[in-house]
């Protein structure tokens, strides 16, 4: 490998290095000074995440000198281009929400709260590697760091028996997914002789059966991250047994990194001109939308409903990714733009929904139908937060999720996959019915239980409501958000 350019290495790796360094510092301080208040760790982690986000944005300035191509380091193994910057900022924002709302998990985590912050930072760091990599080795390193950190987050709640078991299962699932990805990439490497994803598309112009298998395994490995079936069970398990704050953090960070990885590996690396993975992703995307939507009709608890909603979002991301190339009219189909736009909305909807669950936990309210009946009268803020989160997951108008679904359907039609678009729309319709049913239970039905004085920390409540309200505001500011997503997508053209 040629000698790396020092400035480019520093610039591209700065967010990751910053996050990893602060993760180590947080873990160390937590170990050495266990008596420090939780707010200290919260603000230290926040500073790290804001700093990493700003560092990512600063690299945009460097892009001017590369005519938008991006700063490359390590022979192009990492590239700080617009999509990388978009990914870094999104991941840092997701991590920031997790850190600011960590107060909701304080009771269950106890003295392990500094470890929670350290793991959030290291998971975000793993995600940033995925966002800026253009090389198979870096991809595996980034995903490995991300998955191990997320499994650690679930395992942190080991005082409860169920989360420990789920962490083990998630670890096993993550291992299988990483193995699938690794086998897939190894086959692709064998066929092309290059580990550089930027060169893969050109070298794989005529994919044979073996290359097709490599592509398929890679798609399956990435589908795990976004929680798309058939590797979606970990999302449901985490949603069911982890605390709301931890579940929200794990699922949203995985989705954010997974969404960016889908674009990086499949659209940018393999290119949509390679039919095998596109067809597989189309079938998988349609199934991944419909399956959780159908299951949601029988969901008996809020946690499962939210988990299934997160899986549905994973399916929608797969639908968007197949439209990442040129449409039938020789113009960009807009799949990547729709995916990035949708990713922001989906991540915040998942966070808002799980934060509502966290509020319920803190206030001693369950998540079954009987528990949330007439919640509006007992705990108005939680009820509104929960309903906005559910409406965001269901893509009900006028929330931003609705626009995201229209854009994804449109891009799939433009790419010649009208049937996949139809499946995604039908799935959204199906999921919306139980979501509306739960909203009616929460908002309208009467119950005899007394009002609840919320014990949720004010900052957690504020950030949670801000996430939920963003779903509404996103419709109004959809123009600028879509502009940012489109600018990021131009890096691939």
């Amino acid at each position: 490998m040629p000698n790396p350019n020092g400035a480019a290495v520093f610039t591209t790796m700065l967010p990751t290095l910053l996050l990893l360094a602060l993760a180590a510092v947080t873990a160390l301080i937590g170990r050495l000074r266990p008596g420090l208040p939780a707010s200290f760790h919260r603000w230290l982690s926040s500073i790290a995440l804001v700093g990493a986000g700003i560092a990512g944005v600063i690299t945009l300035d460097g892009l001017e000198h590369t005519r938008g191509l991006g700063l490359a380091a390590y022979s192009g193994a990492v590239v700080a281009d617009r999509i990388g910057v978009f990914g870094v900022v999104l991941l840092c924002a997701t991590g920031l929400v997790a850190v600011l709302t960590s107060g909701a998990a304080a009771t269950r985590l106890g003295p392990r709260l500094p470890a929670f912050h350290a793991l959030v930072l290291s998971a975000t760091a793993g995600g940033t590697v995925v966002a800026i990599q253009w090389e198979m080795g870096m991809l595996v390193v980034g995903l490995g760091l991300l998955v191990i950190s997320l499994v650690g987050l679930v395992a942190l709640e080991k005082t409860a028996e169920a989360p420990g078991e789920v962490a083990l299962r998630a670890l096993a699932g993550g291992g299988v997914a990483l193995a699938l990805l690794l086998y897939g990439l190894a086959i692709v490497y064998g066929a092309t002789g290059s580990t550089n994803l930027a060169a893969t598309a050109g070298l794989l112009a005529h994919a044979g059966p073996l290359e097709g298998l490599g592509l398929a395994l890679t798609v399956l490995g990435l589908a795990y991250l976004v929680g798309a079936p058939p590797l979606h069970r970990w999302v449901l398990q985490v949603a069911s047994v982890s605390s709301g704050a931890v579940a929200g953090t794990v699922v949203s960070l995985a989705a954010a990194a997974g969404g960016i990885a889908l674009v990086r590996v499949l659209v940018s690396g393999f290119s949509t001109s390679l039919r095998p993975w596109v067809v597989l992703a189309a079938v998988l995307g349609a199934a991944a939308c419909l399956y959780p939507a159908l299951l949601s009709l029988a969901a008996g608890g809020l946690r499962r409903l939210i988990g299934l909603g997160a899986c549905l979002q994973g399916g929608l991301l797969l639908v968007a990714v197949i439209a990442g190339g040129i449409g039938g009219d020789y113009r960009p189909a807009g799949g990547v733009t729709a995916l990035l736009f949708g990713l922001v909305i989906f991540v915040l909807s998942v966070q808002a929904s799980f934060l509502a669950v966290a509020r319920l936990e803190i206030d001693g309210i369950g998540t079954a139908v009987a528990d949330v009946r007439g919640l509006l009268r007992r705990s108005p803020t939680t009820a509104v937060l929960l309903c906005l989160g559910l409406a965001g997951l269901a893509g009900l108008p006028p929330l931003g999720g609705f626009i995201a679904r229209i854009l994804i359907a449109e891009s799939a039609v433009a790419a010649g996959y009208a049937w996949v678009a139809a499946a995604s729309v039908v799935a959204s319709v199906i999921y919306a019915i139980p979501a509306v049913r739960w909203m009616a239970t929460i908002l309208v039905e009467d119950d005899e239980q007394p009002a609840v004085i919320s014990e949720t920390p004010r900052l957690t409540a504020l950030v949670g409501v801000a996430c939920a309200v963003f779903g509404v505001v996103a419709t109004v500011v959809a123009g600028p958000l879509l502009y940012a997503a489109n600018q990021a997508a131009t890096a691939l053209r």
Binding site: T337, L396, P397, I406, A414, V425, V426, I433, T475, G479
Partner: protein, 513 residues
Amino acid sequence: MSLLAQTTTTTSGVSFPTLVFTALVWSALVFALIVIFLPEQTREQRARIKSLGTSGASAALFFAVWALESQIADVSVGTGGRPGGDLVEQHNWLTSFPIASSYHLDADGLGLALVTMVTVVFFCTALAAWRNNRHVKLLTVSLLTLETAALGVLVSYDWVLYLIFWALPVVPVFLLIRAFGHGHRVRAAERYAALTLVSTALLTLAAALIAFQSGAHSFDMGSVPVTLHGTGEQVAFWLITGASLLVMAVVPLHGALLDLEEDSTGVLSVVFAAVLPSLGAYGLIHVAFGFFPTVGSSYSLLFAGLAVVTVVWGGLAALRADDLRRLIGHVGTVMMGVVLLGVAGHTTVSVTGIMFLLIARGLVVATLMLLTSAIQERTRRVRISQLGGLAWQVPYLAAFWLAAALTAAGVPLLAGFSGEFLIFTGSFPVHRWATTVVLAGTLLTGGVLLWAAQRIFLGASRDVFVRVRDVGPLEVTFFGVLLAVMVIIGVVPGHFAGLFENGAAYILFPGTS
């Protein structure tokens, strides 16, 4: 020069953006947002919420009349009733996507006709809602949101906006029926939600197909007619038609909406029966036929057949109906069948008639539903067989019922006459048999309403109803408003005719001036 043109440009050369449609659509929602943050514990607090609800509906009515009169004034210069006049609002919105979308509000004659009807109905509904004291905030916020959604559908000229407004009623309607419904309210609410969501899905696919295949690379709905390759036109036309028919309450897709009307109470049934099906009719005529006039006209016979089936089935079902809300639902279905005949006629005269009839239908159904609520509130009965001899106690209620029944029957000098006369005249040369059958069905329905009036109000006075009182000042106000509009349209249809004719010409012959 229209009213609006005089206000949009100042003499100093500084021009202000036209905001009439924006104000029309969003004013109700602004009041709803204020209401959300108000308490509703005491009687005074509830009264404040109701006042804001009425104010929101009044504001929308004000802007609707402004837009209507402004467009009527522009008829003489040829722009009134056609999109692209003085009131158009278009601003960039989602320009960074390969298929661009804009904040585009406009209205043609059909849109303005329905805007007028919708705002009048919601204004009267807001007044009628003063009698309710349960879930006041939920009712007010939901009604104002529903008004925004309905008006948004009627003035949106961009697919993304149109879809947002189209699907917006799902949550408020679901919550309202769960809170105020009776009988099989859960089933009715879920069926309605499924219906609306499926129609939204069909429209979303149609929008995606049109935006991509038309080559315009835009979600804008202002460029008509649309040309698509191959079977694209057929697919898009039927997707939009299917979505529209689902919410129009026409046979055989009428079950869910009729259940919703029957299982709801009070002011809800007014909105469900009068407003929601009209939005479906707007989708069918303005979007499906407006975008694909050639495809639409090739299925003329099919629509005539559907009109006949709807009117005959609706008329016979009305004859058998004992539940008052069910009866009114069937009357609405029959009137929608007449609208379908006008669609099948596909002439300027018949489409002009549709605009008159849709206003009349909304007003008639709203009046009858409010009368039903008034009767139920006084007698605790809603079945015709359990009523009788009420005219002695409630003569004004009986008079209002009679006026609505005569309007539905198409009696001259009332709103229904212009619409039905123009539809039958315009459709007869094209579909003689269908027009004859539909005419007979309409007369039958008018007769059924009069027969119902006889069974409810005439006959010997019953002891059980002796304490029933007649309408109060509040009821006189909203029934009076509805009756006044029916009479105004019936007496001076010429005031609106130019606007509606221009609108009809725009739908039938898009692209021509």
